[in-house]
Symmetry: C2
Subunit: 204 residues, 2 copies
DNA sequence: CATTTTCCTGCATGGTCATTCAAGATAATG
DNA sequence: CATTATCTTGAATGACCATGCAGGAAAATG
């Protein structure tokens, strides 16, 4: 694996980025199992050996891809992770995020969905990664609903944890449907409808 | 491929069923790409050659698996496909279906989700299969909401097609979250909460 | 009982897979 | 310029993949 002792060269950095980019695209389309290192290397203008040299193994590349995907998602977020938005702010953000995904980030969404479904079964490192990421999102949402119930913004007779799971389920499912059939499923419209309804339900 | 001319023997029928059963289990866990015919054959107590003999190819087996999965789902449905249930009846059925899945049908749910996500990209026969199946479900739901709006059961200022996509998205996402993390996601509770809220929203 | 059909196996084939290794090319360093 | 480290390649390896084929076992049919 490169970069352990000495200096990295900018040529190597560029190659690594090209490889990760290629891997993101191919993993999103065909999954990890369905994509060979040869195909990734070729798309990045290199050989399988070079790929292994840089990442140690295919799993190493997968790890790098996930980290890069997280980096991009966070960069786009542009919100301090410890912020405490109101319900309306959060809902608005979810709708805007769906808009942005539909317009320009199909790849990242497909990567997330494909790899999640590829790792439903426990046992792999990737399963833990995606499971914990889901838990973190639901915890975030639970806190949001708990705050809203406490300060009177929302009715208090609904279980915040169940609500959180419901919202997470809707978002995940909407993305899945849209990826599968983008001509017939309008990701933004569905989000707008759902969150408008949810806001009304919580206000009542 | 067997069964083209003469009579099928009961031994062959049993073997085929064993193979389809094994395939359903393994496909659900590892996807089609991640499962070799050797593993399926072994679990069914046979050899890869026997499998190919019965189904012609791996794709033939996949087709048989999908048909069997459909058969099981329909059998469980126990509802004439041209029925016109009321909103409450339909919602109740979705909740009961989730209950049943959570209790005893994890395998079929995992098969559906895994194969759907494995075929997000257009081009394959399986992609078309899952895309059209999604369209059919949404069309069904759209008709349901249209009827309810027409006879005054539900408010009429919401787009039935968007509502249908929303419901389909929720159901799909709830199953995905539950499959990924069954210890923390209560499929039934989430369904109950969502459909209770949806019923309230439509009544208002 | 003989013939035909279905069912199944063992073996072989060509393909793809991830990974290793030795050696060459390129860049940085003193 | 020489040395050293980084980067890259080409060939080779062994594992696994789906499938084909030839022949044999089992069952049905007359």
């Amino acid at each position: 694996m490169a970069g352990v002792k000495g200096q990295v060269q900018k040529r190597g950095v560029a190659r690594r980025r090209a490889m990760v980019d290629a891997a993101i695209k191919l993993f999103a389309q065909q999954g990890v199992r369905g994509t060979g290192v040869a195909a990734i290397a070729e798309r990045a203008g290199a050989t399988p050996s070079a790929l292994i040299h840089h990442f140690g193994s295919k799993d190493g590349l997968v790890q790098a891809v996930l980290e890069e995907a997280d980096r991009r998602a966070l960069e786009r977020l542009a919100v301090p992770p410890d912020a405490e938005p109101t319900l309306d702010q959060a809902f608005d953000w979810f709708v805007r995020d769906a808009e942005h995904t539909a317009a320009a980030e199909r790849e990242l969404a497909a990567l997330h969905t494909t790899l999640t479904a590829e790792n439903l079964e426990p046992g792999s490192a990737l399963h833990t990664w995606f499971r914990d990421r889901g838990r973190a999102l639901r915890a975030h949402l639970t806190a949001l609903f708990t705050r809203a119930a406490a300060d009177g913004t929302a009715r208090a007779d609904l279980d915040p944890a169940v609500l959180a799971a419901e919202v997470a389920a809707f978002i995940e499912g909407a993305h899945l449907l849209w990826l599968l059939d983008p001509d017939e499923v309008d990701l933004t419209a569905v989000h707008r409808g759902y969150f408008a309804g949810l806001a009304a339900r919580l206000r009542t």
